[in-house]
């Protein structure tokens, strides 16, 4: 068994494709995409919030005091385009304020004065601008209503029966955790990336090279040969995982987290815990991929299966991204899902729940061992040994 392991490791370390896919692309792809994506997103968000807002206003002459207020707030009032609706539709402008001619009459009569915000709310990037314009207009509205009430001798607080304030208990770590929602996916995928090539090469590849039949004539129980291959595959998966985590720790230091007032709790200590947590999933991935690849008639067929399997770790990750819920004990019993939720707990800086960790490791290891046992019996089927006939 150990002989098979060493041979497969040596054999595959000499394969340039393995080095590239398992030891370079696999670990680096996730962190790089992740870091670039996150820093782009945060930069965009901060730029939008800080940049001066340019607002084309139609009929500015109907409400001089409003435009004056906006200018004092730092909004740059622009002349409107000739076709405002068209300009928004063509995405030349994000948002345009229209002050209709009847604004003045309504204003002096004390009726609600109409204003129109022209925008396409289905464009996600306009959301921040719309919110900012609304914010200014609400502030103006509040200021005017206070003045009016005071003129009439009414205390403005009468119109405010409630005063709501949110006590935000989120810590910089936990806000960082929100940002890291899809970190678990990128970590889980390294295990699959790392074992993909090995699983194919040692099973479907061995058959295609026509070296499987002579290999099985050696005086070694067949399950041991399979176990050697499985161990070698797991070894590469763990290697990819370890390198990937190290890469993540370094990638995090390049993120502009200080600008966003949050801390990303992904140092080497957390990475080590994540490794312990995901290690059983490496065996799981290796066993699953080996089973699939053993059934494939050729290397190419095996590779096409691999592409689909990569989607499996996505399912729990996307589910958590779309429907973020509290971590519950049953989640830690579901392999792949448990790693997802627990990595999130880790990067949010929550105290480690040893029970959950154990449940996750135990349940994933159990499933992995079942799959490994199935893999171990595969070479007892003559169909999987002889391809040509």
């Amino acid at each position: 068994m150990i002989q098979v392991f060493f041979k497969e490791v040596l054999d595959n370390l000499r394969d340039r494709r393995v080095i590239v896919s398992t030891l370079i692309l696999g670990p680096l792809l996730g962190p790089v995409i992740f870091a670039v994506m996150i820093s782009f997103m945060t930069r965009q968000a901060t730029e939008r919030m800080e940049a001066a807002l340019e607002l084309p206003v139609i009929g500015a002459e109907h409400a001089a005091s409003l435009t004056g207020f906006l200018e004092r707030e730092g909004v740059i009032i622009k002349d409107p385009p000739s076709d405002p609706e068209g300009a928004v539709r063509r995405e030349e402008e994000e948002i345009i304020l229209r002050i209709p001619p009847e604004f003045g009459d309504a204003w002096t009569a004390g009726r609600p004065a109409p204003l129109e915000l022209i925008a396409d709310q289905s464009l996600r990037y306009t959301g921040a601008s719309i919110a900012r314009v609304r914010g200014y207009l609400n502030a103006y509205s509040a200021q005017i209503s206070q003045n009016r009430l005071q003129l009439r001798g009414v205390h403005p607080d009468l119109t405010r029966p409630l005063q709501i304030s949110v006590v935000d208990l989120s810590t910089p770590e936990s806000r960082g955790g929100m940002l890291l929602a899809f970190l678990p996916y990128f970590i889980m995928i390294t295990v699959f990336m790392g074992s993909m090539h090995m699983a194919t090469d040692t099973t479907a590849g061995e058959r295609e090279r026509k070296s499987l039949e002579p290999l099985l004539i050696n005086p070694l129980p067949r399950w041991q040969i399979m176990a050697g291959k499985l161990l070698a595959t797991t070894f590469f998966a763990l290697l990819t995982l370890a390198l990937g985590l190290v890469a993540f720790v370094y990638a995090m230091s390049f993120l502009p987290t200080a600008d966003m007032d949050m801390t990303l709790n992904l140092d080497f200590r957390v990475a080590a815990w994540a490794f312990v947590l995901v290690a059983p999933a490496a065996l799981l991935a290796a066993a699953l991929l080996i089973i699939l690849a053993s059934f494939a008639k050729s290397y190419r067929e095996a590779q096409s299966y691999m592409g689909m399997v990569i989607l499996i770790p996505m399912i729990p990750s996307f589910w958590i991204m779309i429907d973020p819920t509290r971590t519950e004990t049953w989640m830690t019993l579901v392999p792949l899902l448990s790693q997802n939720v627990l990595i999130l707990e880790l990067v949010r800086g929550e105290p480690l729940n040893a029970g959950w960790m154990l449940l996750s490791i135990a349940s994933t290891t159990a499933l992995a061992l079942v799959l490994a046992a199935i893999a171990g019996t595969l070479y007892n089927r003559p169909k999987l040994i002889f391809t040509s006939d």
Binding site: Q3, R14, E206, K210, S211, P214, L216, I217, N218, P219
Partner: protein, 246 residues
């Protein structure tokens, strides 16, 4: 020494009968040839002997060991060069052979000594430390034979060993097989080439449609068929010339 008695093997839930009833004996110190057209059941018979297939019926003994009961024992006693001779391209010839040595449970020193010996006998020194990518058929067969014999087995099975080899390599291989015989080993090879058995084999087992059509020395087969050359005898004994040209 191999004894096979009434071996039977079917595939596809009994619909395809690969080996119907094959019995033969291959003594030590002799080369026994399984001769038959393609698809006659030679490879299936060998695969049962080297335990990759389980017979549906019949029994086998290799040096008195039952392959079905003690597959690992038999695998240690056998040196097998199967039809598939895939090598690991990223390993050198020496590493390919040493891997099988380790799987046989040999220690480092023994492996090194055996590789030296086999490389000498089969004239492999020139390429022994090269990676096997781009090896010629002849070089590949030599590596496949060397790794099958790394543990110095008493019984050697070869499935169509000269397939795809040129004349010179075939000659060298025959010389090597004769040497195995003089060392007192039991050598069994399958082939569909008449000249091969004529030139090499002490005993011939003719297999056709999964059955043994005839068994004996070349002279015995000629006498029994009443022909004066082996080819005619072969056609006469299997009852047709089907598969001969393949």
């Amino acid at each position: 020494m191999i004894e096979a008695t009434r071996l039977r093997k079917t595939f596809d839930k009994g619909r395809v009968v690969a080996v119907d009833e094959v019995s033969f004996r291959a003594p030590d110190g002799q080369i026994t040839g399984l001769l038959g057209p393609n698809g006659a059941g030679k490879t299936t018979t060998l695969r049962m002997l080297y335990t990759l297939l389980k017979p549906d019926a019949g029994s086998m003994r290799i040096d008195g060991i039952d392959p079905e009961a003690e597959p690992l024992q038999v695998k240690r006693a056998l040196g097998v060069v199967p039809d598939s001779r895939g090598l690991y391209d990223r390993l050198s010839a020496r590493e390919n052979i040493a891997y099988y040595g380790r799987l046989q449970g040999l220690d480092k020193a023994t492996i090194a000594r055996r590789i030296d010996y086999l490389a000498g006998v089969m004239d492999m020194h020139e390429f022994i430390d090269r990676r096997t990518t781009g090896f010629s058929q002849g070089q590949r067969v030599k590596v496949a034979i060397a790794r099958a014999l790394i543990h110095d087995p008493r019984t050697v099975l070869l499935d169509e060993p000269t397939n795809g080899l040129d004349v010179m390599t075939t000659r060298a291989l025959r010389g090597f097989l004769r040497q195995l015989k003089t060392e007192g080993r039991c050598v069994v090879l399958s082939t569909h080439i008449m000249q091969e058995v004529a030139a090499l084999c002490d005993r011939i087992v003719i297999i056709a449609r999964g059955r043994v059509a005839a068994e004996g020395t070349a002279a015995e087969l000629l006498r029994r068929s009443g022909r004066d050359n082996l080819e005619d005898a072969f056609v006469h004994l299997i009852g047709s010339d089907e598969g001969l040209l393949a």
